[in-house]
Amino acid sequence: MIELYQERESLLHKMNARVKIFFTLVFILCVNLLPSRSWPAYILFFTLLASFFILSQLSIRTILLRSLISLPFILAAIPLLFTEPAPYLITLHVKSVTFTISQPGLIRFIAITIKSWLSLLAAILLTCTTRFEDLLAALRQLGLPKIFVSILSLMWRYLSLIVEEAKCLVRSRDSRSASGVNQRRPNGSLWWRAGVTGRMVGNLFLRSLDRSERVYAAMVSRGYSGEPLQVNVRQMSFQESLILIGMILFCMLIMVFSYLIH
């Protein structure tokens, strides 16, 4: 099962999901709106997150590992180091080509990395402290159309099952993929392998289609007539609203503060 939610008895876990979602979005927005050189703001925002993480009693190690997920994407921003204008910091000569790393470029690169990482941490915090059902209910209250609630609910319910089926398919393919000793092309040609994979995917999809028909039969047998599935809603207490407003104001303050500083 793809368990991202970590069960804990913390203030954050108990907090209304709507508050958490709203705050996460505001947080990420504020972080992304900061000017590149807002070092104090980055520190303060990080402090906020770190405090929440401690409050949530989540395992720090898992969080840090998960936050490395988007690291490869940083490659996309590397050209920035070389293409921004003067002042230049480092000049490299490789064969006949000259690379110059400029200060603005470096700052922008670091800024993107920090902003990306902070946004990621905020999202991870949300996921690890909120159950999927609560997230879905909160999204519904925030305006998510009913049909999406149904689709997402069913998708989540059957995701683990289908992933298991897929793993079985991969396992059975692998156990039949022993390469012969004298083969020139181990494991068959690329074309053939892609075809096998494609058929596996087709198999998976076909089974899913069959399953959807059976689930439909089960739903209809219990009186389903097309109305999307219901979810339980949770009211937001006055306290929680206050906390949310407080947090938002805090973020905006930091943001305004950074703009003024520069």
């Binding site: 319910r157 209809v220 047998s221 219990r222 007539s225």
Partner: protein
């Protein structure tokens, strides 16, 4: 009473699935529908609540299968499918058990009560917030029965209820089914269960009813069972 007359059904590709089925099931009966694979047992069951509709007449408590009557019929017939994962499609057990009553239009407070009663009947009290994915095979089976019990049906129709269950879960399931008051219709290979639960047995082969009688008579007729690939 379930009243089926001259029911004939063909698959989309033209093959004959059911031919001239005639049967009547009175309230309170415990009927076992047995037959080899491909005999049409599951197909027949799907006609009880109108998921499949063939030629001929199917009446449940004097209601004919028609668009108008389907909601009522589906409240009368509790259909339990073979694979519980197909029947438990919500994120928690409570949501699944509440689904039927919610579709029936039952008020919220009453639904809570129905959930409790259904879970109690299948001995899954306390399982409300559990994720169906994490349940064991036997628990899933019982939960799927609860999802149907909460609709207060008069007839319980089960397709291969003991398939895939380990011996202990199987025993628990049989005990559970014995404790339920509803009219029971079971499609199964499990002759031992038939011996324990049913009082009437219908034998199906190639889409036709080849035998219909008291359990004792049918199950002791070895020649009949052998001819129909049941032994």
């Amino acid at each position: 009473m379930i009243d089926i007359q001259d029911l004939t059904f063909n698959y989309p590709d033209g093959r004959c699935a059911l031919e001239q089925i005639n049967m009547q099931i009175k309230p309170g009966e415990k009927v076992a529908l047995i037959g080899p694979n491909g005999a049409g047992k599951s197909t027949l069951l799907l006609h009880f609540n109108g998921i499949l509709q063939g030629k001929g007449r199917v009446k449940i408590n004097d209601l004919e299968i028609s668009k108008k009557n389907l909601p009522s019929i589906r409240s009368l017939i509790g259909m339990v499918f073979q694979n519980p994962d197909d029947q438990l499609f919500s994120l928690t057990v409570a949501e699944d058990v509440a689904f039927g009553p919610a579709c029936q239009g039952v008020e919220k407070e009453l639904i809570e009560e129905k959930i409790q009663n259904a879970l109690h009947a299948v001995q899954l009290e306390g399982y409300e917030e559990r994720n169906p994915y994490h349940l064991s095979g036997g628990e899933k089976k019982r939960a799927s029965i609860a999802t149907v019990l909460s609709m207060s049906p008069e007839y319980l129709v089960l397709d291969e209820p003991t398939s895939g269950l380990d011996p202990r879960s199987r025993r628990e399931l049989i005990a559970l089914l014995r404790s339920l008051p509803q009219t029971l219709i079971l499609a199964t290979h499990d002759l031992a269960m038939v011996e324990e639960l049913a009082d009437r047995v219908i034998v199906l082969k190639n889409g036709r009813i080849v035998a219909d009688g008291k359990k004792e008579n049918i199950l002791s007729d070895e020649k009949l069972l052998f001819e129909n690939d049941l032994l």
